[in-house]
């Protein structure tokens, strides 16, 4: 009774086998059903996210947000969807039609695919492949390609520039992200996300706070949300790579972005916050789903908080932040983690936990000291008197002298 999803699955399996289908076919149908249920659930969540996003941003900006349709404006997203559905669909002149239409599909599909490897609860069906972490990176890679396709096929300068900027940004932040994910892999001794969650008797945010922070920063950058929203810097390139898209095609990009944010929250929860772990989650697996989404929505809220509080970062600062700060930092952290993992013995012991935590704190302290020294020198350099290219005489005085 404590595990309704598997109960239903077992019942269906029995029913299908009772109809005389072969075992291979039963497995296929069950898997197909699992996929459809997961995907439908996630997409439903996506519609709900539109409401969450609008309501939360309204609260951050001291407004009410949607409050007309239904209780607390809960039916508002449905109205949004209907509006998008009946809008005229415009393909600009000179656009590459096929590529132009594939891009929005890729934008949503690559995010949706991520949910196939996130463990929802100890028992709920899903995939637990042994290269889960890299699978996430791979899906992200195809998403990047979707952005380039959208920008190139639109036949619009702003779209192309926006796509290029976005890709340069994603590419720059993908490096620290991938390396940061190596830390949970080292700690869990496995690349499967299910295994990583399974091993987190102590949440990895305790063992690897630096990696967790780097992952969060790079996740926001990967999403292209403020303060990293170069691709749609309104004052510079209007709307970025999806400038020419209208109606539901734009809706796909929008839905993809929102869902991606929640997915990043779920991934962060799985890697660093113990995923579905929580009190009684192992006895009552359905609670696991609840815990996972609780944590995912918390991170999603943090991402929104950052988005609506910070101004946009300039592109050169953004690139240098990744290459000159995050990448060296996280490389050092990974190497220290590997070294300590060898030295401290088995995970789970008090020494192991304390050692990792202290090492992380020392890294943070060293980083802060270095940064402080650097900025002190920088202030000195800027404050110095510099040669000024001013004429020693005013023009009027010069005329006076020559005449």
């Amino acid at each position: 009774m404590t595990d309704p999803i598997n109960l239903i699955a077992e019942w269906l399996r029995g029913l299908l086998a009772g109809w005389g289908l072969s075992s291979g076919l039963v497995i296929f149908i069950m898997t197909l059903l699992g996929v459809v249920v997961t995907a439908a659930f996630v997409l439903l969540m996506d519609v709900f996210l539109v409401w969450v996003e609008r309501k939360v941003v309204a609260r951050f900006q001291d407004r009410l947000g949607p409050n007309r349709l239904g209780p607390f404006g809960l039916i508002q997203p449905l109205a949004d969807v209907i509006k998008l559905l009946i809008k005229e669909d415009i393909t600009p002149i000179g656009a590459d039609r096929v590529v132009y239409n594939i891009a929005p599909i890729l934008a949503l599909a690559t995010v949706l695919v991520l949910w196939s490897v996130i463990p929802l609860s100890p028992t709920v069906l899903g995939a637990d492949i042994n290269v889960g972490v890299l699978f996430i990176v791979a899906a992200g890679a195809i998403g990047t390609l979707g952005i380039i396709m959208a920008g190139w096929a639109s036949n619009n300068k702003y779209a192309l520039i926006g796509a290029f900027r976005m890709v340069a940004e994603i590419v720059a932040y993908e490096v620290p992200m991938v390396i940061a994910l190596m830390v949970p892999v080292i700690l869990a001794r496995s690349m499967s996300i299910g295994e990583i969650v399974q091993r987190q008797t102590i949440w990895y945010i305790v063992l690897a706070p630096v990696a967790a922070l780097v992952f969060l920063i790079t996740a926001i950058a990967e999403l292209g949300r403020a303060p990293f929203d170069l691709s749609e810097a309104e004052s510079e390139i209007v709307a970025g790579f999806h400038i020419e898209y209208t109606g539901m095609k734009f809706g796909m990009f929008y839905a993809g972005e929102l869902l991606h944010a929640l997915t990043m929250g779920a991934l962060f929860a799985s890697f660093f916050l113990g995923g579905w772990r929580g009190p009684f989650a192992e006895q009552v697996p359905i609670l696991g789903v609840f815990y996972l989404f609780l944590k995912a929505f918390f991170i999603y809220w943090v991402i929104m908080w950052v988005k609506y509080s910070l101004p946009r970062i300039r592109i050169d600062h953004l690139m240098e932040f990744s290459w000159k700060f995050l990448t060296p930092l996280i490389l050092a952290v990974v190497m220290i983690t590997a070294l300590l993992d060898k030295l401290l013995g088995e995970p789970g012991t008090l020494i192991y936990t304390l050692g990792m935590l202290v090492a992380n704190l020392i890294v943070v302290w060293i980083t802060l000291t270095l940064l402080r020294t650097y900025f002190r020198l920088e202030r000195k350099r800027v404050g110095e008197e510099r040669p000024v290219a001013a004429p020693d005489l005013t023009p009027a005085a010069r005329i006076e002298r020559t005449s």
């Binding site: 492949i129 699978f135 195809i142 380039i148």
Partner: protein, 174 residues
């Protein structure tokens, strides 16, 4: 179950070869690159069918995520010749076609006349963890530690070389 994997293989192989053909004959270079992406994805699925999951994922990450993006960037940087004008083949394309077809025929002939033609795959050992084995092989002294470190040197050389070639140093450095 067996026929299913065969059908999947045939579909994927045909799509992959077809898109490879499109890569070679597409007039627009960006289209060429996008077809290349489809080809690479097909090869990744074949790796998956061969139960090399790690390589399948790596194929997508490296080839689609990095190499094809690099190629598209390079196409954008050299835009004038990527436009649709002018012939896409050089005058020797007839010879090229002949040589390629002969190559294909020769390869198929060699494969067909080889006794291991109809070898079937043995099921993988359930305890065999390719990723773990790969990690062990890459760093153990009687394994592949030299290629492992050499790969790093190779990448370093490629990085420095490419920067030296492509980067125009600005006078006011850093």
């Amino acid at each position: 179950m067996m026929t299913v994997s065969l059908i999947v293989f045939l579909i994927v192989a045909l799509i992959t070869l077809g898109s490879a053909l499109m890569v070679v004959i597409a007039r627009n270079l960006v289209h060429s690159a996008l077809w290349l992406v489809l080809t690479l994805f097909g090869v990744a699925i074949l790796f998956g069918l061969l139960q090399a999951g790690f390589l399948a994922v790596v194929q997508v990450v490296i080839y689609i995520g990095a190499i094809s993006i690099l190629i598209i960037f390079a196409i954008m940087l050299t835009r004038r010749i990527a436009s649709d004008t002018g012939p896409r083949f050089n005058e020797n394309w007839g010879w090229a076609l002949g040589i390629s077809l002969m190559m294909f025929a020769a390869l198929v002939w060699v494969i067909v006349s080889w006794p291991g033609f109809h070898v079937q795959a043995q099921p993988l050992d359930a305890r065999f963890e390719p990723v773990v084995e790969l990690g062990k092989a890459l760093v153990s002294p009687n394994g592949y530690v030299l290629p492992f470190e050499l790969a790093s040197v190779l990448l370093l050389a490629a990085l420095i070389g490419a920067i030296v070639i492509a980067w125009e140093r600005k006078p006011e450095g850093r």
